[in-house]
Symmetry: C2
Amino acid sequence: MSLLVVGSVALDSVATPFGDTADAIGGSAVFFSVAGQILHPVRIVGVVGSDFPQDALRQLAGRGIDVSGVETAPGESFRWKARYSYDLSSRETLETRLGVFAHFRPRLPDGHRDARYVFLGNIDPELQLNVLDQVRAPRVVACDTMNYWIQSKPDVLHQLLRHIDVLMVNDSEARELSGDWNIYRAARWILAHGPTRVVIKQGEHGALLVEQDSVFKVPAYPLQEVFDPTGAGDAFAGGFMAHLARTDDLSPNNLRRAMVYGAAMGSFAVEAFGIQGFDAVTPAAVDARVRAFKDLVHFEVEEPAR
Amino acid sequence: MSLLVVGSVALDSVATPFGDTADAIGGSAVFFSVAGQILHPVRIVGVVGSDFPQDALRQLAGRGIDVSGVETAPGESFRWKARYSYDLSSRETLETRLGVFAHFRPRLPDGHRDARYVFLGNIDPELQLNVLDQVRAPRVVACDTMNYWIQSKPDVLHQLLRHIDVLMVNDSEARELSGDWNIYRAARWILAHGPTRVVIKQGEHGALLVEQDSVFKVPAYPLQEVFDPTGAGDAFAGGFMAHLARTDDLSPNNLRRAMVYGAAMGSFAVEAFGIQGFDAVTPAAVDARVRAFKDLVHFEVEEPAR
C-alpha cells in the first residue's frame, strides 16, 4: 500500500562527544523515508532551498525513495544546529534557520493523493490538516507534533486530533498536551480526543503503544555504542508505518510488530551520524534485529517441567 | 530453599502529593520480606531500637516472616524522612537518623546459617562481607549497595563483588561504580569484577538483567495511579529472590521469570503507602500480574497467515 510522508528536509550540523557533522542531510521526513524505504517504497513531500546539494536528493532517490514531491524553492534550506551532552541524554539547539521551510505549503503531486498510509511529520498543524484535505482516502494517518504547536496552536491541534488515527509523540509532548504527568493517563486523554492509538516515544527507554484496551511496550535496543540520537524518533515512525503499509494489516499483533520494526529502525539511526546508520542495513538485518528484540523481552510464564 | 535477607528495619515518614505517613514500618529488609513472603518463607535479620512498636514486628510475623533474627537494641530505631516531587520522579531526604542502625553488627541465629539464598540489603560492605562469613554454603548471594559506599569504601566493595553472584543496583549506582554512563557497558564492567549477573533497576522504566551472553528487559507495569515509590526496589529484590528460592532453578528462563516476579512486586509496592500495597496481595494476584507483564511485551515475530 502506498506510503507518504510530509515533513522537514533539512541540513543538520550536530556535535556529539564522538564527532560532528556539518550540513548533513536530515529532517523528519528524511529520517522517516530512509528507514521506511528499507521495508517499503516511500514517497516524500517537502521543500528545500536553491542551495540544497542536488547530490543529497539523488542519494535519497538512489535508495529508491520517490523524491518527486520535494519542491525546490528560491532561498536557503532549513538548517538546524545542535550539541549533545557528554552522555547524549540532552541536547541544546544552537541555531534554527527555517529558510524556505518557513513558507512551506505542502502540495501533493496528483499521483500522491491516493496514499493509503500517511505520516504527517512535525509541522504547523494547519498544514497537517491541509495535507489531509489533499489525500483522497487514507487508511491510516499518523501524526507527530511538538511542544511549540501544543502551546501556540492548541485549538487547531485539537481539531487535527479528530482526524488522525495514530498520534506519535514523545513523553514530554504527551504530558504537555494532556496536562497530566502520568504517561498512561496522558495516553488515555489523547485517546479520548480522537486517535484510536497513541505511540509514546521514550528515547533510550523505548516506546509505548496505547489503545483503548491494551498497552504494549517495546524497550530500546541495548547498544553499548551510541553516536548520534538525532532522527531516532522519525526513523521509528518510518519503520512503524512502512511495516503497516507493506502488510496492510491492522490486527493487534501486527501493530505490535510494527512497534518493534520502529524500535529496530530507531536503534540503527543512533549507531552512526545522521542517516549513515542505514547505509548497510538490509531487510534481513532489520529482521535479525526484530528477532533480537524478541529475545530481549521473552519469558515463559509457565514453570518449566523439571 | 531457605531465603535470608539482612538489611534495614526502619520507621519511615514519607510525604507525597497524595498524602503522608509518620513512623510507618519500612526499610530495605522489610520491603524485601513483605514482598518475598507472598511467594516463599523469608527470614529477616536486622536491628530495631527499644522504641520500635512491638505491634509492627508482630504484624510482620503475622504475615509469616521469621523475625527471630531481628534484634532489639537499646536506643532509637532508624528513622528516615523524605518528600517526593509532584510527579514522584524525584525525592528529597529530609532527615536520616540512624539510631541503633549505626552500630548494627548482623549476627545470624544459628538456624539461619544454612540459608541457600541470601540477599544483602544496602549496608556497609564490610558488614555485608561479614554476613557472608556467617553463611555456610549459599547457592545465590545477591547484594544491593548505594553511592555512599561506592564513594567511601570502594576497595571493600570491590572485594565484596568477588564474593557475590548477583549485584542489584539502580542505574545511577551502576554508572558511578563503573565510571561509565552507558548502562550496558557499566553492566559489563560489573560482570568483569565478580558477579555472574547484574540486575539494574530503572524505576518507572523497569529493570535489566545482564549476563555474559544475554540481556533481558522487563518494563515497569503500566499504572495510572502511583502513590508512593518508596521500597519498590527492595520489593523487586524480594520477588526476584523469593521466586528463585522457591524454585531453586537458575536456568536462563527461570531467571527471567524471577525478574518479572520482581517487577510485579515493585508495582504492588508503589500502589499504596509503605507496605500497605501488599496487604491484599495473594500468590494468585501475583501470578495474574506476571501474566499481564507477558501481555505487555508479547509480540509474534512471524507474519500471521492471511
